[in-house]
């Protein structure tokens, strides 16, 4: 791929997905400084991977998987594996940066069963469409809709 074509494609992907990826990473990591560094790392990987991208999945699936892996690596590097399994977020980061109401609500998402939680994160945090979530999670669209409905009901119970 010619350098200029690559840069043009990268710019388009960046414009389209940066916001979603940033929100996802920020939700997972909890502080802006690390989120910014990780987003840079993620999109740098995207840049490097563009030449090898074979189109077996859509761009957003590919980029999102890079993001998930980068976040996991981040925690591994910090030896905070327990935060991944429990989806726990370091409160130290949140305490001075986030308002309590917002954090209380987001923590309810973390209490959802894993399969529902993933759908909610992708839908509400990363703003993926139903069809995109189906591709990312490799499940039928109907299943995504069902999980989303169930997750909303559970969330309301948790928020009350």
């Amino acid at each position: 791929m010619e350098h200029n074509d690559k840069e043009e494609l990268f710019n388009a992907l960046y414009e389209k997905y940066f916001h979603r990826i940033w929100k996802y990473v920020y939700y997972k990591i909890g502080n802006r400084e690390d989120t910014e560094d990780l987003c840079q790392e993620i999109f740098f990987k995207v840049w490097k991977g563009l030449d090898k991208f074979e189109g077996k999945s859509s761009y957003y699936t590919w980029i999102f998987k890079i993001s998930m892996n980068t976040v996991i690596s981040f925690y591994r590097k910090r030896k905070l594996k327990k935060f991944i399994s429990l989806d726990y977020v370091d409160e130290r980061y949140y305490s001075h940066e986030k308002d309590e109401t917002k954090e209380r609500v987001l923590n309810k998402i973390r209490l959802l069963p894993d399969d529902l939680k993933k759908v909610v994160e992708l839908y509400y945090i990363s703003n993926f469409k139903i069809i995109e979530i189906a591709e990312i999670l490799d499940i039928p669209e109907g299943t995504v809709k069902t999980k989303l409905k169930r997750a909303r009901e559970l969330l309301m119970e948790l928020l009350k």
Partner: protein, 193 residues
């Protein structure tokens, strides 16, 4: 009174359904739906994260700058590598050709001052084909004795006077090797074995 379902409220507030006015009218008289409405609204607001515009620009600039630096480095290194590789190949070919040079003169050494007894020519020549060897102006090629790929020159029949002498090897009528040496005595003999 018909209540609004949770999913319906979500979809209305996410602008996926158009009956917002109906919902707003309903929650004025229905505490249960009003509570759900407030919670859904709270949830949706909590998931809205605004990203400062400068972060988006800053991150992108850092990535592209890094890419450009690497590219510049690569573009500057590639010609250097090509030149280095070319030099290496030339040097390698030269060394190979040097190694293939089939003439090794053991004695006399270049510019050596010798007594006749010290004169011994040993030519490690793979083949005499296309070569002629001259001692001064005398063609000694046919006087060489061979031992495999090594040729010896026995100079019994050749009387070399004291003084300066030249050994020249021609290959395809071009000088391949040239060496000057000096003899210090009138009488000499060269023996093999």
């Amino acid at each position: 009174m018909k209540h609004f379902e949770i999913n319906e409220i979500f979809e209305i507030l996410e602008n996926k359904k158009e009956n917002l006015k109906e919902l707003e009218t309903h929650i004025k008289v229905c505490p249960e739906c009003r509570e759900n409405y407030e919670k859904v609204k709270e949830f949706l607001q909590a998931t809205q994260v605004e990203i400062p515009y400068d972060i988006k620009i800053r991150v992108k600039n850092r990535i592209l700058e890094s890419v450009r630096k690497k590219r510049r480095l690569r573009l500057s290194v590639v010609p250097l590598l090509v030149v280095s590789l070319t030099v290496f190949v030339i040097a390698f070919i030269f060394l190979i050709s040097q190694n293939k040079k089939e003439v090794v003169i053991i004695s006399p050494e270049a510019q050596a001052v010798l007594t006749p007894e010290e004169v011994l020519f040993v030519f490690k020549i793979g083949s005499l084909k296309d070569r002629r060897i001259y001692l001064d102006d005398i063609d000694i090629t046919d006087s060489l004795r061979s031992d495999g790929n090594i040729y010896y020159y026995l100079a019994e029949k050749l009387e070399l006077n004291p003084g300066s002498h030249n050994l020249i090897i021609l290959k395809n009528n071009k000088i391949e090797y040239s060496q000057k040496f000096y003899l210090t005595s009138f009488k000499y003999s060269i023996y093999m074995n």
